[in-house]
Amino acid sequence: MRTIKRVALAVWDFVVGDDWRVALGVVVAVGATAVVAAGGVAAWWVPPIAVVALLADSLRRASR
């Protein structure tokens, strides 16, 4: 059980890293892109805006 927990924590640290909010934001942004695209509207602009906003927010918190 302890080994599973350690492996899970290592995978989390490897992929998600220092700021889990960025990972959550990416999931929300990709979901929003899918919803907009399914509505028949151009959705390519959603990820770039989300990425810039997520990065700026994460850096702002890291610099405090």
Partner: protein, 251 residues
Amino acid sequence: MSGQELGLAIAVFLACLVEAVEALTIVLAVGATRSWSSAFSGVGAATAVLAAVVAGLGPTLTSLPINVLRLAIGGLLLVFGLQWLRKAILRASGLKALHDETAAFARETATAHAVARDTGAFDGYSFAIAFKGVLLEGLEVAFIVLTFGANQHRVGLAAAAAGAAIALVVLAGIAVRAPLARVPENTLKFGVGIMLTSFGMFWAAEGAGANWPGNDAALLVLIAGMAAVSLAMVAWLRRTTVDSIPRQTPA
């Protein structure tokens, strides 16, 4: 070779170059201070594990439907790329210490000297440190090879680009016999972060059903745009940091 394939080869090559330089420092430190043969055994074992991971997961991933693959792998790559880019921007703006191979080599060497040595021919410490160093640095490369390669069904090309970078670093390491401190690691990491984020964005959006204006050409615009935004963020953070330091008036 298409534009996307060229981008794949460059991104994998640069990412692998950076990780190989870091792994080389660890191997050099334990090899030079304790046992070359045990350190090389560790390198061989870690390389075999990494090759098995790529060979095992590559065909499984490429068998998935392309949109599922692009959505899942693109999303993962975007999270992973943002992590790289965030650290690179913090380093470039002076908010995080720069990676210094000479300092890392000195640290590893001091630790290797301090640990007691077995009397036998095989040195477990050298093996374990070399194995762990190569495996941990290599896992990031394996992840990039798999995500980039599977998305374009070119795992072979991605693995070849990674192999070329490793060969270059090994040859340079043999020639210099010292940590490759002159490789502009922090700049390369900045560039790789931009490429991982841009490719991740491109594929995740396609997987989610979006169509990029200009198709593949949009990738170049994304890379240029992310580079400009990242540099602007470095300038913003530098200004913020300087402004936050209280000005001292002479007594």
